[in-house]
Amino acid sequence: MIKAVDVKRIFTGRGITVRAVDGVSLEVAKGEVVVVIGPSGSGKSTFLRCINGLESFNSGHIYIDGVDLADRKTNINKIRAEVGMVFQQFNLFPHKNVLENLTLAQIRVRRRSRTVAEEKSRQLLVKVGIADKEKEYPSRLSGGQQQRVAIARALAMDPKVMLFDEPTSALDPEMVGEVLDVMKQLAREGMTMVVVTHEMGFAREVADRVIFMDQGKVVETGTPEHFFTSPREERTQLFLKQVL
């Protein structure tokens, strides 16, 4: 489903060079859930953003369902419609109500009729547990509710892959659970997911694989069990000691 080969993203500016993503290779099969962990600044977000083309990369290849993002002929908007993304800061559209947040891209990008889009949206709102808030504006919702709307918004496009960039980091602790529950349900339904998170409980419960990144490189890969019981690298051990 996703295949990344030696992806490099190097930022240069004001005489400083940051190798944000420094030769990452990764394969994610259909239905697989991959959790990415690593210290702040290790390039997790940048790598995730490369996967749906929000960030361009300097070298390497990323294939989504066999289509190469590095190919100039690839229609990046088409790829993005297939790859849902959930952000740390929710990024709901504040001038549109919940229902409009979900229908807009369906109508504009998927060319669905308003009726079809609204029907689809309502189903998803039921699924994420906020069916009663469809006419509210995002500013009236709690953080947890906003993030669940954001997940529903991404799902409304029927994506093949969902990317999550620290979806619970901006939430008050009591709201983390409700968002993780939605993500767990998605994972159980067979959604292909790449999740950047520090919620190790989530990783243990649903992850097929965990990847530890540091300084733009993949340091260690393994099952959640492997990370909890016998991490190999010293950097991994150090990091896990801080988050667990």
Binding site: R49, A105, R108, V109, Y137, S139
Partner: protein, 319 residues
Amino acid sequence: MNATGDTWPWRLLLAVILLGMAAAIWGAVQKIDYEWRWYRVPQYFFYKAEDLQKAPFDGQVSAIDGQGRVTAVTVTSAAGEKAVLEVDSASVKVELEEEVFSGDAVGFSSSWKMGPLIMGMWTTIWISFVSGILGLIIGLLTGLARISKNFTINGLAAVYIEFIRGTPLLVQIFIAYFFVGTVFNLSRNVAGVGALALFAGAYIAEIVRAGIQSISRGQMEAARSLGMTMPQAMLDIILPQALKRILPPLSGQFISLIKDSSLVSVIAITDLTKSGREIITSTFATFEVWLVIAAMYLIITSVLSQLVFYMERRFAVSD
């Protein structure tokens, strides 16, 4: 001090200060011995125009039908042709069966006409409106050009803004009319509206640019991540939010535009200001006319402010 407490002492103080200032002005005017002639002003808003009604052909007055203030006079020619002229009853100059010749005065008809103040205000309103709309379009495009990554487009926009903001509007109007207008054979209205639109556009562009840049990057990313194209994201996501945010500075710009439009009077467009100057040459009521003109500008701008205030409240539903 309680913030929700009575405010009447402060209201009273405000009223006293305003009255004091009015009294001071009045006192100052007394000293210079100016004779106020307010009665001369109203006729420049509306006046009664009298039109001489003439017999259209040779013939005989066949009927005079007086009904109150208006009288219908029917003239019939030898060939049987009939013409009905409506004139003021008090002004009828013919009698029944009287012979009239083509061009003879039958009477006067009167009607209310808009005076120069109203006509000037209308000119000011439409010139401001048209150049405001054009300026908004120019400003929007230039603002987008300013955030474009294309060096050429960005550079062109920057030069335009720099040129407009670095030169006086009065000079721009002269250039638009006497130079550009001569080369391209433009009427004074086109030159005036064009100069105002370009002037407003440069300022609006900077407002638009700042507004777009104030919307968090995440909004664009969220829209793009859903597969929306750049133009779709701009139209549906970024611009509506930016517009809401820039409404206050934008309305300030439009109010400036209304006031700045008074400068087009220098290329002989009869706007409110030029009407005022013309009225003064025939009435010498300098003080009265300028005060009236100021009040009329104030009315136009405050209507606009109210409109924007209303729009702001409409936009606030999503806050």
